[in-house]
Structures are given as C-alpha cells and as structure tokens.
C-alpha cells in the first residue's frame, strides 16, 4: 500500500525505514512480541501435545472452509431463528453502508465498539465520524490508538507503539484531570470515561471470533469486559463477521478455545468468552433488543477453490505469526500500511485487495518459515508468500520489484546487531551461508540473491534447523524477559 508521508508517496520499504528510526517502537514491538511468544511457549508446553492440537485445529478449519456454503447457510438461518437480522456484504463499502443504514434507521447518535479487525477492514469509524456520529473504541488499546488518530500496530495489542507518557497526554486531551503516568490511574480514567459511554450509546458494534453454525451463536474472546458492555448495554448490537469465521459445532469451539488464547497471549483461556445467540429473549430485561449480523466477503470467496490460497481462510487472527516474524519485529505493524500486519497481513492484504496496492507486502518477509511454525492452525504462510511472489512475477511486474525490495530491505536492516544479521541470514539461508552455526563473514553484496529466491534448493528442514539454532542464540543474547507467572494480554478480537 502506498501512503503519504511528508507529502510523498511511499511504499512498504520507505515506511519500514521510517519505522526503524523510532527506537521506542522497535524496542516496544520486540518486547511485546517476545513477551507474547514466551507466554505462548509456556502455555503450549503446559497443555502438552501441541502438535496434535494444531493438527486438529487445521482439520476443523479446513473442513469448515471446504463446506463454507453449507455452514454459512446453516449459521445464518440459525441467527435468524434466534431473532437476529442477517445482512450479506460483497465488499467493504457495502458492509459500511449496511452499518450506516442500521444507524440511520435507529437514529443513532453514539456508537460504542469493541475491538474488531473487520471494522478496521471496512474503515467504519471514518464514515461514522463523517456523519457526525460519535464512535468510541472501548478496548483500552484501541481507545489509545483512536485518540492518537492512528491505526493498530499489532492485532492483539493495538497500542504497543505508545508509551505511558504519550498515553497520559492523550487521556489529558480527552478530558482527564490530574492524571499520572501510572497504569492504575490511566486505566481508571478509561474505565470511568467508558462507563458513561456504554450506558448512553445507542448502538454497539463488535466483531466475531467464531460463529457456531449449529446454533447461530456469535463467540467473542476478550479480556477487559468491554465487549460484554458493548453487546449488552445498547439497544442494538451489530456484529461484523468475515464470512469464513465459522465452526460447525460447539464441540469444535473447545478446540479453538484451547488454541486461540494460547497462541495469542499464552493464556489457557481469555478472561471472557461470550456466546451470543440472537437478541434478548422474551422475559429478558437486559441485552440488545435487536441484533444485526453483517457477513463480509471482500475478496475472501475468491480464495476458495484456489488450491494454494484457500488455507488463508483458516486464520483465526491470533497474531502468533507476527510475534515470531523477524521483519515484523524490526519494523512494527504500521510499516505494512495495511489493516493486517505481519506475515498474515503480507498474505491477506494483497489477496483481499487485488492489484498493485499491497503487491509489495509479500516481499516484507524473510521467508524463514517461523510464521508457519507458529501458526496454531498450520497455515503454510511462507509457502503462500512465495506463491504470491510468483504470482506477482507472472503478472509481469517482477524483477524491479524484487530488486527494489532487496535494496530497500538491505538499507532498512543494515543496523549492526544480531537480529539484523538474523534477518539477512534467514533470507540467505537457502544459499547455505551458515556453516557450523556461524555466519560467513563475507556476506558481500549478497550477489545472486534474486536468482535463487523463489526456488529453494536447500531442503526445508535443514534451513529450519539453522533458524532454530539462531533463534536460541538470539534468545540468550537479548536475555528475553519471560514471565512464568500467569498473566493476561490483549483482547483477541
């Protein structure tokens, strides 16, 4: 995606260079990624049989996507049977318009939202503001990002790029008095501010982690409790759901409830798992009176039937692939310039939006394979990235692109530390530059890099082994602060 920085059109390479200038960002992204990753490791080890769980997760997701027409029909019928209204949207604009229509009909003046990647995808906040409707992000991290007029930099912890002083300033601007930079004080301000908003809001908007086909239930995984306020306090509840986010049955939810929180934040389960089936029943005193489900396609159905790309729809948006990605760890989420960052973003953004807009994103990867290994539903992300590069090549805009990427990244990652070396090494792994765990000192101009790129000649496994060795070296060097105590992370949806 190209965006404007200082009035100039820029691509992912420029943005990553800019990101590298922000030392706080780099440190924060790495710290957060390490923390989530360390917690994930502890959580998966204590569960045991992680590979079996992943396999099961992959099977369930693949089955669902392979029968998506059936499950979508069943799910939406059940939502209606439970009193909900169902809307289908082909693209982002149609979904946004559907939201607008509901708000108009309700004459809504204020909307509360809980974290939803689909809502970012359809850019709804902007539209609502244009119509003079107050829209408030109620997830703490999203609220910070909203006050800063920015976009999330991580799909699980959206505001990792903000430090507490900046947060205090933002909260002060938003009406906070005598705030300190203390976490408690800042949280209390958000809690109190939000309480009023929840109680006053006309409409609540949430995403959907999973829809259960057999019951028509919408399932949300969260930690703060804001989603439950958003769902239950306003009269109208709008659910934004990507069309692929289904599970056949509650039995399958048990698998995802074991996989998603562990992969996302290293929790054995999130604080809240909310199962919402239609609107409030006769005799209920609280809960939304009207529930609207908007099912979004926006390029998703195009991936079905594409043998290579279909698996991208298995994604459960846990963010684990971000945390292990050497490129993401260096440049952070914003450099991707798309709603979905990291390896999943590098795959998803160009396939959901065809054309040149995100065509450079598959190059924002070292193809080291760490993402595929981290994925709880076994999406072969790096294979998909290679596939997208090939597709890109076939479409003719290649060599320049590749060379550009190479040059850009060489500059972007030229800082003399081990992690940078790791990235280069990972990229060069296929060239067998690593011997006995050491990196050849004569990396030189990395000649011939382009030529061998998309057709790895070295067996995948040995490369992965090298990568693991390197990872453990890096772990020691950076002295990762892993907290073994039970601790909670950001909201999953």
């Amino acid at each position: 995606m190209t965006t404007e920085i200082d009035g100039k059109q820029t691509g992912v390479l420029d943005r990553s260079r800019l990101a590298l200038q922000d030392d706080f960002l780099r440190a924060a992204v790495r710290f957060t990624a390490d923390r989530l990753r360390g917690k994930k490791r502890i959580a998966t080890e204590s569960l045991g049989n992680w590979e079996t769980w992943r396999e099961r997760g992959m099977q369930i997701r693949s089955h669902t996507v392979a029968n998506l027409d059936y499950y979508l029909a069943q799910f939406t019928e059940n939502v209606e049977a439970a009193g909900g209204h169902v809307h289908f949207a082909d693209d982002a604009a149609e979904a946004a318009q559907t939201v607008m229509n509901i708000l108009m009909e309700k004459q809504a003046r204020s909307v509360v939202k809980s974290k939803s990647m689909v809502s970012e995808e359809i850019g709804i906040n902007h539209l609502l503001e244009e119509h003079g409707i107050e829209v408030v992000e109620t997830d703490l991290g999203e609220y910070i990002v909203q006050l800063a007029r920015e976009t999330p930099s991580h799909i699980i912890i959206p505001a990792i790029h903000k430090n507490r002083r900046q947060i205090k300033d933002l909260f002060t601007e938003a009406g906070g008095e005598n705030l300190t930079t203390d976490t408690k004080t800042l949280t209390a301000f958000a809690r109190n501010t939000m309480r009023n908003k929840f109680l006053r809001a006309d409409v609540g908007i949430t995403g959907c982690n999973f829809g259960i086909a057999e019951s028509g239930s919408v399932v949300l995984f969260t930690n703060e409790g804001n989603a439950d306020m958003v769902t239950n306090l306003p009269k109208t509840h709008i659910v934004l759901m990507g069309m692929e986010r289904l599970l056949p049955a509650f039995a399958d939810l048990e698998v995802m409830a074991n996989l998603l929180p562990r992969a996302a934040t290293g929790q054995s389960i999130t604080t809240y798992m909310s199962v919402i089936t239609g609107n409030r029943r006769r005799g209920d005193i609280d809960g939304a009176q009207e529930m609207h489900l908007i099912v979004l396609d926006n390029g998703r159905s195009r991936q079905i039937g594409d043998a290579k790309m279909q698996s991208v729809l298995n994604c459960i948006r846990c963010g684990a692939c971000l945390n292990v990605c050497p490129v993401y760890r260096q440049i952070g989420g914003h450099a991707y310039g798309s709603v979905y960052p990291g390896p999943i973003g590098a795959v998803l953004s160009p396939v959901l939006n065809e054309g040149e807009k995100y065509a450079d994103l598959p190059y924002a990867s070292s193809l080291c394979g760490a993402c595929s290994e981290a994925c709880p539903v076994k999406i072969p992300l790096h294979d998909l990235l290679v596939h997208l590069r090939q597709r890109h090549v076939e479409h003719g805009h290649t060599k320049t692109m590749e060379r550009l990427a190479f040059r850009g990244f060489k500059v972007a990652f030229s800082r003399p530390n081990r992690l940078n070396l790791a990235i280069k090494m990972a990229r060069l792994g296929q060239k067998a530059l690593v011997r006995n765990g050491h990196i050849e000192s004569t990396l030189g101009p990395l000649k011939g890099w382009t030529a061998g790129r998309d057709a790895p000649t070295v067996a995948k496994q040995s490369f992965h082994d090298r990568w693991r060795t390197l990872q453990s070296e890096l772990q020691t060097q950076h002295n990762h602060a892993l907290e073994p105590k039970a601790e909670r992370g950001g909201d999953v949806e």
Binding site: T183, G225, M229, E254, Y272, M273, D286
Partner: protein, 221 residues
Amino acid sequence: MKRTEFLTRVSARLGRNGVPGDSPARDVVGVPEFWSQRELSERERVDRFRDNLVNLGGEVHLVSSVDELRDALSEVLGSLRIMRVGIWNDRELQELVNPVLESYEVSTWGIEPASAFVDMDLGITGAQFGVADTGTLVLSCGGGRGRSVHLLPPVHLAVLRASQIKTRLGEALQELSSHLTEIDSYVHFVTGPSRSSDIENDQSIGVHGPAAEIVIVVENL
C-alpha cells in the same frame, strides 16, 4: 436475493451448483480423544478449579454446609465494606444467601429497575457450571439471571455447588449443544477478574468488567 447470490457464489467456488442439503461428512469433530477421555474425581475437579482461579487473581472459598456458606459470604461482604448488593432473581440462590443480606441494601434483578444495578458494589450470582481445567464460571443469563448483575459491579461473587464443576470446557459446551433450542441469548464464560496489558505491557485488573472474582464452592450440597 442477496443471500442466495452470496451463498451461490461460495458454492460455485467450491465447484457445486448450490448449497448441499445434507450436512457434510466429518472425519473429526471437537477435541482429540486423549483430552476428552480424562477423568477426574470431584475432589480433583474442585482443587483444580480453585488452583486455576486463584492463580489468575480470583478468590475461592470452599465450604461444606449452608452455614459455612453464609459465614463465608458475610465475611467477604464485611471485609470489602460492601453496602449495595445486586442479586439474580433465583429462588435457590436467594434462599441460600438471603439471611446474610438482611443488613444490606439489596436489589433483586427484575424487581428493582435495571438502572439500579449501575451502582452496585457487588453482584451475587449462581453459575450453571464451573470448569476445573481453566477456573472458569459458566453463567447462562436470561430472565431473572440478568447479565448486568455480574458485569457492572466492581466485585462479582458466585455461589457454585462442587458437583457443578466439570473437568473440561467441552462438557459445558456439550450442554449447550444438546439444548440448542433453549439456549439463552447470552452465555458468559468468566475466568478471573477483567484485565488488560495494553499500557506498556503492564497488567492492570478491573478494566471494564469486575476487578474481583470471588467464588464460594459448596461441597456436599
């Protein structure tokens, strides 16, 4: 019609003419067998439930009679200097705790207006199940079991019978699955107090939901 068009497109991508009438055959459903076949005694389930919840900052009181339950409740209310208590309109629950609540300002869901529940110090609920594996409470909300009772106050206290504690999450989900037509519109799985790490990865408790989760588990009841 939009719906048909939308679904037909998906069917076409899957290489078929329309949405199949029969439910698709499945190789695997739900969790692996090694997981579903675990069996724990009630003692083990209670202990695991308590350990997991305490580990997440929750508070668990194990009692073995109605008198002990009331003592524990009255101690909690006293030590937290609670004044206003909201409670589910649920006969069984109320009979257990009412004698303790006489000296408090009590709002019962469905009797007092919902707006009263915005200002409660503590909400008392029952729970449909506990889950030992994760320290989770399953609150199926509807009718007299209002959602706001446990969501809005800073403290949530639940009374749970030991026999209601299941080993794994799947057992509670199975219950939902086998009563699909009567499913409440809101079933809340609650594990410990509300929390966030959104400010510099620093954990804070009680962001939007309750800052304290207290469960009184009654054995032999």
